[in-house]
Amino acid sequence: MNPQRIPPEIQAIYPFESRWVRIDGLGMHYVEQGLDQGRPTVLLLHGNPTWSFLYREIIPRISPVCRAVAPDYIGMGLSDKPAHEAFYTLENHTRILGDFVDQLGLKRIVLVVQDWGGPIGFGLALARPGLVAGMLIMNTWAWPDPSHFHASVLPWRMMHAPFAGAHFFLRRNILVERGLYLSTSRAREKLKHGPVLDGYRLPFPTLESRIALLAFPRNIPLKPGDLNWERMKRMEEALPGLSCPCRLLWGEKDNVFPPENAGRFQKLLPACAPPRWIPDGSHFVQEDAPGEIAEEVLKLLDQV
């Protein structure tokens, strides 16, 4: 467990009681708010380099009508952080999320996913037929072929190349220090300095605490034979089997997962509504458009 003290200025904008479950001997942190009121629990999944803090402005907007749960993956947020990079695979994150759902006794959920929350959440949905009652999908992917951004040496592959990644991600934490700023739009100024940036910095104070941040990019397959290529291929093939209602919300200024990705999801998922575009939203759309996301969650809850 990592009962990290949250400084008052961060607690003021993340006013949730920390909770933990133990999985594989590791403490997994989460926050929750609201009662289910006969509705599915809303499970809010973050990506890299974020944690449940990403949903701090969304949870209070939806929790009056549902139970909202936001976990931190192992290695992220206030959860425990094993030292071995090899631990942090898509397979492990997905399996652990399944254990998390079991420990909380969740039988019916609405998934809200962005970035790595997509592949992790879709993996859960496909492994547990009937668990997922609906999905809100935002700025993510679910197929093996990489985005242009992920396939490019400049800057993405250079950033996490051997030893370059050790400097960029582990020594200098650049995905938090600069990546959040570069990949937001409306909310960009909040990611320059101040309590919001400090909130993202909080769980990753040392080189040793940042290993999962570096492992995520190294889990993105680029070509057949790469780690997760087959897993992502099977995921894409299986997604049309998910018949639950789906909504798409997309930050249009995202250069990691461009708007074409939303169209690809629409074709893959039979019960998918047309995307709600956020023209001045970027990759971390939860920072740019928390109000719009909450509206979409509430619409989805009315659908399921």
Binding site: M158, P162, F163, R171, I174, E177, R178
Partner: protein, 129 residues
């Protein structure tokens, strides 16, 4: 930036304390890096010692503790720290990265390293006017 990375035959006078500055658990994430690093270490028959722009000596080799991989440590006389400002260590690390990427070659170029450093304002990256 001139890369002043001199391979040293021995660490005489460099200090007996080691402070880790880089730790790479997946040198084969891109196999060309792993191949190059193994070849460099095989060539010297063990750990590689180099002198960075600050004048300090570093060791590239297998970690003495913790998970497998490769590490770069700075050698010094101070048991509590490297005895070098963080900015100087960043510049030394950058020189090491330029040396490494220059040797890996192919699609990996120092120019792209520098541009990446500029985009993300990475400490140690050269600042161009």
């Amino acid at each position: 930036m001139t890369i002043e990375l001199m391979i040293e035959a021995e660490a005489s006078g460099a200090g007996r304390f080691e402070h880790r500055v880089l730790f790479e658990q997946s040198p084969d994430h891109y196999p060309e890096y792993g191949r190059l690093l193994r070849a460099e270490l095989d060539r010297v028959g063990g750990d590689l010692l180099f002198r960075a722009p600050s004048g300090r000596v570093y060791r590239l080799g297998r970690p003495k503790t913790g998970p497998d991989g490769l590490e770069v440590v700075i050698l010094g006389d101070d048991p509590d720290g490297p005895g070098l400002p963080g900015e100087a260590v960043d510049r030394d690390v950058w020189a090491f990265l330029e040396w490494l990427i220059g040797r890996v070659g192919g699609e990996w170029t120092s120019a792209d390293l520098e541009k990446t450093g500029a985009i993300y304002r990475v400490p140690g990256a050269p600042v161009r006017a």
